[in-house]
């Protein structure tokens, strides 16, 4: 729906007319009720009504398709209708009686639907629908049974043209008796408001504030007035005072707060100029979300960028992130584009759009260049994460493959070779003269068994999986060519960490024995909050260059795949120290 200035003018005229009828209408007729008509009071009330009209106009201007302005206008119509009591005919008097309470239910509706005009929660919806239904049925029943001439003729005697089954008790129940339900309604509305407040985002609370402050008071005063009106004496004592005291204007604080909120939101647009200045000075990478959240006045803002592969989204840190395809009632979604390409997605509080339509667009267009930078950075981070993950997967796959081959050798070739050797052994006694050949073949077979065993063990020593790093290095030290002094905590670690550490230590021991001509090696493994620390030191000739040919280079890559780093210090003549740091995944910390 398009907003049209002509419609706005029409709306304004209608609103002013309704306010005039509501407040000045009673002056046209002599009042049968002893409520003093006071021009000053009426003028003040008229001004209060005009604030409601202004709020209706403002909400029409901001959102012509919305419901809020209709609701605001509706409340003015009900208010004007209530002025018909002054027209001193039985018909109007009866109709007026039938509408008593309607303005309060409309007020409750308005309060609960503020500021969007929609009743969001099921509680709110049922409360409002229920109130309209109870009121409608009760008032319809009331006009059918109410005989104004019975009883004390309070507030006055007239004829009810719809009367069909006069019944004073039912008339009381559906008429004044219903006033007893008003305090209940007031409490239920306050509960609905409290529920909304507790669930509201900061932006929504800014808008709800005037309603949240004033509505409970206003509802309290209204409830008191209804209760007072049940009886002539209390009406005179309390009701008239309430109707003419400044408390009667309390409700005007609601449109006032609403209008002030609009003004404040407009003033906050100045923040976008600040944003431009801040962006011009440069925002550190990764800090754009906070900057935009301040400019939008939405601390819940989330920023997402298209994932490098084109499918899905990542956050500014490059981590995969869920972005709904459509906005949801609790999250608005703005998909930004640049030169036809997706640039970013903003997930924000829907209340921001209600508070200040267009602010999101303004912020997005000012920040477009910065968003582009941040998008590139986020995508690079995501790609880096993907490369890291893929490298880890490759290492894990290689480890799994080594374990599998070890198993296959163990279960297959080795068992067959041993069984074969046993058959040969059985043949020894039976084959006359073949003893030498059998012995030689058996020796060959045993050699083959040992070679396959060493090959399998070297691929992946089962004790590493079975008993952990300390036990596996201990076994390594027994086979080493030089004395090894190892100090390793016995704790179990994630498999990939144990494997990486084991092969690094094994390679370092081999190098110390083969190339460094060392006489002893110490292996020290410690563990702290930062992860695992390895140090393999020998007393050999030093001068090792890990970048040239040694098996260490491959192990450096292997460690890097799980986020670890390796340093080699090997001054000529002063031994070699290989040290490594391996981060431990969260959850495996001591």
């Amino acid at each position: 729906m398009q907003r049209r200035p002509g419609d706005l003018a029409l709306l304004a005229a209608l609103g002013i007319l309704l306010a005039a009828i509501a407040q000045f209408g009673p002056f046209l007729y002599s009042s049968p009720l002893r409520v003093p008509l006071n021009p000053v009071y009426a003028t003040a009330a008229f001004i209060g009504d005009l604030l409601w009209v202004a709020a209706a106009l403002a909400s029409y201007w901001r959102d012509p398709a919305g419901r809020m302005w209709k609701l605001l206008l509706g409340s003015r119509v009900v208010s004007a209708l209530s002025a018909i009591w002054v027209v001193n005919t039985s018909l109007t008097w009866t109709l007026w009686e039938a509408t008593i309470g309607l303005s309060t239910v409309v007020f409750a509706h308005l309060v609960l639907a503020f500021p969007s005009g929609r009743l969001v929660s099921r509680y709110d919806r049922w409360l409002v629908i229920g109130s309209y239904a109870v009121l409608g049925v009760a008032r319809l029943a009331f006009v059918l049974v109410w005989d104004p001439r019975s009883g004390d003729c309070f507030p006055r005697c007239s004829v009810n043209p719809f009367l069909m089954w006069p019944n004073a008790d039912l008339a009381w129940l559906f008429g004044p008796g219903l006033s007893l339900a008003i305090p209940v309604l007031a409490v239920l509305v306050c509960i609905g408001l409290a529920r909304r407040w507790l669930r509201a985002s900061p932006a929504l609370r800014r808008m709800l504030l005037p309603v949240a402050l004033v509505a409970p008071l206003e509802l309290g005063v209204t409830a008191a007035r209804y209760l007072a009106a049940m009886n002539q004496d209390t009406w005179q004592a309390v009701g008239v005072t309430l109707s003419t005291s400044p408390l009667a204007f309390l409700h005007a604080a609601i449109p006032t707060g609403f209008l002030l909120g609009i003004v404040a939101a407009r003033l906050a647009r100045g923040g976008i100029a600040d944003l431009a200045v801040e962006l011009g000075r440069g925002v550190p990478l990764g800090g754009l979300r906070d900057t935009l959240a301040r400019a939008l006045r939405d601390p819940t803002l989330a920023l997402a960028f298209p994932a490098p592969g084109g499918a899905g989204w990542v956050d500014p840190q490059g981590q995969p992130m869920d972005v709904p395809a459509e906005p949801t009632p609790s999250r608005s979604l703005a998909r930004l584009e640049r030169d036809g390409q997706p640039l970013a997605a903003l997930l924000y509080d829907p209340a921001i759009e209600a508070e200040d339509p267009g602010r999101v667009d303004a912020v997005a267009s000012v920040a477009s260049m910065a968003l582009e930078n941040e998008r590139l950075a986020a995508q690079v981070r995501a790609q880096l994460d993907e490369v890291r993950a893929s490298r880890t997967r490759i290492v894990e796959a290689a480890d799994a493959e080594r374990r599998r081959i070890e198993r296959d050798l163990h279960d297959g070739a080795q068992q067959r070779l041993v069984a074969l050797a046993m058959r040969l052994d059985q043949a020894r006694g039976r084959a006359e003269g073949a003893g030498e050949i059998i012995d030689a073949t058996t020796a060959e077979l045993l050699q083959a068994i040992r070679e396959v065993r060493d090959l399998a063990h070297g691929l992946h020593p089962p004790i590493l999986t079975e008993r952990g790093l300390a036990a596996a290095v201990e076994a390594l030290a027994e086979r080493a060519a030089l004395p090894v002094i190892a100090s390793i905590p016995p704790d179990r670690l994630p498999g990939e960490v144990e494997a990486a550490a084991y092969f690094l230590i094994a390679e370092s021991l081999t190098n110390a024995a083969k190339h460094a001509r060392a006489s002893r090696v110490t292996v020290e493994v410690t563990r702290d909050g930062a992860g695992l620390h390895l140090a393999v030191a020998d007393d050999g000739q030093g001068g090792a260059d890990p970048s040239r040919g040694s098996g260490l280079a491959g192990l450096v890559d292997r460690l890097a795949a799980i986020g670890g780093t390796v340093t080699v210090v090997s001054p000529t003549g002063a031994g070699t120290l290989v040290s490594a740091d391996i981060p431990l995944p969260a959850g495996s910390m001591p």
Partner: protein, 222 residues
């Protein structure tokens, strides 16, 4: 027990069927009675509940996890069937597992490399020794423990002969067994053993199987 008319009764547990059958054939031919075979730990436990053999020959690595089921099961079997001697077969030389097996009670247990079964007389000897309540440790396991590179230890003080005798003690042989193996007389072996223990600073030896544990622990921890 040697010389008794009744053949030793043996149960086999290994998931490698080919090898298990070959082993059963060899042992039968060597005069042992095979009372049953199993391919996993559950099968072994069932078998033992039905009929207790004199010796259970058990592979370290069996289904379902193919890690150290056999070793773990042996602890349980020793508690539930204390009369059954256990000979554990391992594809790999793991000194730690040999010690884990002996630690609770070294009497009537043995740890042999799987390839050892290819010489039936060696296997038969080991079976008889564990059946008699002795301990058996594979010579390769002992060799690895003895041969481990050390900076400087009392082991260096031993003469080659003493080293040889220490290795045989570690394999689980008694003084008599050592004397027989080295063709020495028992008194000489006794004298060597006393000197070895004093050079290594070990307490004088107790029964044979206690001695195995003491020697192995010493070798592993120095």
């Amino acid at each position: 027990m040697s010389g008794e008319p009744r053949p030793l009764r043996i149960a086999l547990a290994d998931d490698a069927v080919l090898l298990r059958e070959a082993l059963a054939g060899s042992l039968s031919a060597a005069g042992f009675e095979i009372i049953g075979q199993a391919g996993d730990v559950a099968g072994v436990l069932d078998l033992l509940d039905r009929d207790e053999p004199d010796v259970l020959i058990l592979d370290v690595r069996m289904p379902p996890t193919h890690t150290t089921e056999g070793l773990e099961a042996s602890h349980r079997i020793r508690q539930q069937h204390p009369a059954v001697a256990i000979l554990l077969l391992s594809q790999y030389i793991e000194t730690r597992y040999a010690l884990e097996l002996l630690r609770d009670n070294p009497a009537g247990v043995g740890y042999l490399l799987k390839e050892r079964v290819t010489r039936i007389e060696q296997l038969a000897d080991a079976v008889r020794r564990v059946a008699e309540g002795g301990s058996v440790i594979d010579p390769d396991v002992v060799a690895r423990l003895l041969g481990r590179p050390r900076a400087h230890t009392p082991l260096d003080e031993l003469t080659p002969r003493e080293r040889e005798i220490l290795a045989l003690m570690a394999e689980g042989l008694s003084n008599g067994g050592i004397a027989e193996r080295l063709v020495l007389d028992a008194k000489t072996v006794e004298g060597h053993v006393t000197r070895i223990f004093s050079k290594l600073g070990l307490e004088p030896a107790g029964p044979d199987h206690r001695r195995v544990l003491a020697v192995l622990t010493y070798l592993r921890e120095t």
